[in-house]
């Protein structure tokens, strides 16, 4: 059987950064498995700029950002298998703690690979129409924004000429501009929530610049057209997101794009038996970004959906370093002293979900999202009920991931740690 120390599932921004950092941390045997025919993942179709401000202090396009990591991986001579789909990940039956990764490609066929550690970096997928229960016909012309993005930017095709967009996530906003630039008429962007999940910059530069209206608290209530989309009707919704009769507006169009949320792609993770968080839909991880299955780490959008790739790279780098420590035998194996982080009062979740101060490096980065738009709010962290962090935020919104860095010292000062709580407070 083929062997590697670390198998990285996915060669997008997360997988590449994880592999690079694992290599730099001294692990010589790493294999990246990528299903596409090139590295870079979703960044390849994100041809707009705005990537890398945190990492490189300049604004790059998606492909440029990806190339910097691809180049590094090549310089470090990290082997990658392209066109390769991982079919399953399972624990080796010999009790060694190794994982058996089964993958498939044209060149090697069906291969079983024995890995000491696995880094999950499979990314996420878009929520399809069916998951939104949008009534109406099911003609051609209904695409997720990401599929349309691929058709336009990778294949060079126009999926439609007259467009309605549901959902104001960043991909939807970016595609509103992209389709407009290529000559389509984007008539309206409808957003179910009373706020947009997209960046302000994208609302201004993708919608306002082109006079495309954004209708908050609206959803699609009907799709017409038996073969190709002919019209889409949207309506205002009440506080419970139910359409209000009498507020319908009908748009004749040939295309409906959906930008209604991303779902971490965790089928392999679930089948492996890792605990999945019902909130993030990603695996639960500890401060080392290790899942409930020892030696299996997760990072990027498969862990929880990010809005900035810079944070994906940071997180993935950390997963890579921890995986390296694991295969070098330097990681503590015991789960004694694990504390589950409580997310409450407006904090929907935290990643990691579990912190063990004994295993901590000098700091731990807690990432989380809030459940609504809050202004002039405090983000607070409590250890054993004692507040150790109290940070004012002028604004916190669900579309923007929040980050708190906690120091190991803060934990060392608390005796007999029992609880860690992250919450929003008005004062």
């Amino acid at each position: 059987m083929n062997r590697t120390k670390i198998a990285v599932i996915g060669g997008g921004p997360a997988g590449l950064a994880a592999a690079i950092e694992a290599k730099k941390a001294g692990t010589d045997s790493i294999l990246v498995l990528e299903r596409d025919r090139c590295l870079g993942g979703i960044l390849n179709q994100c041809i707009h700029n705005g990537f890398g401000l945190h990492t490189f202090k300049e604004e790059l396009t998606g492909p440029e950002y990806a190339q910097r990591f691809i180049d590094q991986a090549q310089e470090l001579e990290i082997p990658c298998r392209l066109g390769t789909m991982v079919m399953s990940i399972a624990m080796a039956e010999d009790g060694s703690g190794d994982k058996i990764v089964t993958y498939l490609n044209r060149e090697e066929g069906l291969v079983q690979l024995r890995a000491e550690a696995v880094i999950l970096a499979m990314g996420c997928r878009e929520r399809p129409r069916g998951a939104l229960s949008i009534p109406g016909f099911r003609p051609a012309g209904i695409y997720t924004a990401g599929t349309a993005q691929k058709l336009v930017n990778i294949n060079g095709f126009m999926p439609g000429r007259s467009v309605v967009i549901l959902g104001s996530g960043d991909i939807g906003l970016i595609m509103a501009r992209r389709m407009t630039l290529e000559g389509a008429k984007v008539q309206v962007v409808a957003e179910l929530m009373p706020y947009s999940g997209g960046l302000k910059r994208n609302i201004v530069q993708c919608l306002d610049d082109f006079g495309i209206p954004l209708k908050l608290s609206h959803t699609v209530v009907d799709i017409e057209g038996k073969e190709r989309v002919k019209a889409v009707t949207i309506a205002r919704v009440d506080e419970r997101s139910k359409p209000i009769p009498g507020t319908e507006e009908r748009y004749e169009c040939d295309t409906l794009l959906l930008s209604c949320g991303l779902l971490p792609e965790n089928e392999l993770t679930s089948a492996l038996g890792a605990v999945i968080s019902p909130v993030t839909r990603g695996p639960e991880v500890n401060e080392s970004l290790e899942t409930s299955v020892p030696g299996v780490f997760a990072c990027g959008n498969v862990l929880h959906v990010h809005d900035l790739v810079d944070f994906v790279s940071q997180e993935a780098g950390q997963a890579g370093r921890n995986a390296a420590r694991y295969v070098q035998g330097a990681a503590a194996k015991s789960s004694e002293g694990d504390i589950r982080v409580t997310a409450e009062n407006g904090v929907r979740y935290t990643v990691p979900e579990i912190i063990n101060p004994a295993r901590m490096e000098d700091t731990v980065t807690l990432r989380f999202r809030v459940g609504a738009v809050y202004q002039n709010i405090y983000e607070s962290v409590y250890l054993n009920g004692e507040r150790i962090l109290h940070r004012k935020k002028k604004i916190a919104a669900p579309g923007e991931m929040e980050t708190i860095v906690l120091k190991k010292e803060s934990f060392e000062q608390v005796k007999d740690l029992k609880s860690i709580t992250v919450r929003l407070e008005e004062e």
Binding site: N49, T61, L181, E182, K200, I203, I395, A397
Partner: protein
């Protein structure tokens, strides 16, 4: 006296900023809650600029399209002129990041450059 309404893009707050202009000169900036907003508003009313990104076909490459961008800011009013200038352009593989696709696009002094490597397809 002219008033212009803007949404600040500095942070998720999205402050609604009102800029008052007289003879093209900024007289006041109101509604912003930080200095970032002031700076953004002044630039946006006097000289709004954007980076345009798109993709163009590439012949004999491993893939069929290569992504491109204006290598710097161009005036916001030129966005569609730039898109028009790109229409009909196609490249021959290989193409590399930074290769100039179209020099001095629309007289802006800014080049269009490739943002992706596309190697020649091995036949």
């Amino acid at each position: 006296m002219e008033k212009r309404e803007l949404t600040c893009i500095g942070c998720p707050m999205g402050c609604q900023i009102t800029v008052t202009l007289e003879n093209g000169e900024v007289k006041s900036v109101e509604g912003n809650t930080c200095m970032k907003g002031d700076k953004y508003a002044r630039a946006e009313v006097t000289n709004p600029v954007r980076v345009v990104t798109s993709s163009v076909p590439v012949r004999d490459g491993e893939i069929d399209q290569v992504s491109v961008k204006t290598a710097g800011d161009i005036p916001k009013g030129c966005i569609f002129d730039v898109m028009e200038a790109l229409r009909g352009i196609s490249l021959q593989a290989p193409v590399h990041i930074g290769d100039v696709v179209l020099a001095d696009v629309c007289g802006t002094g800014v080049d269009i450059t490739a943002t992706k490597n596309v190697e020649r397809k091995i036949v």
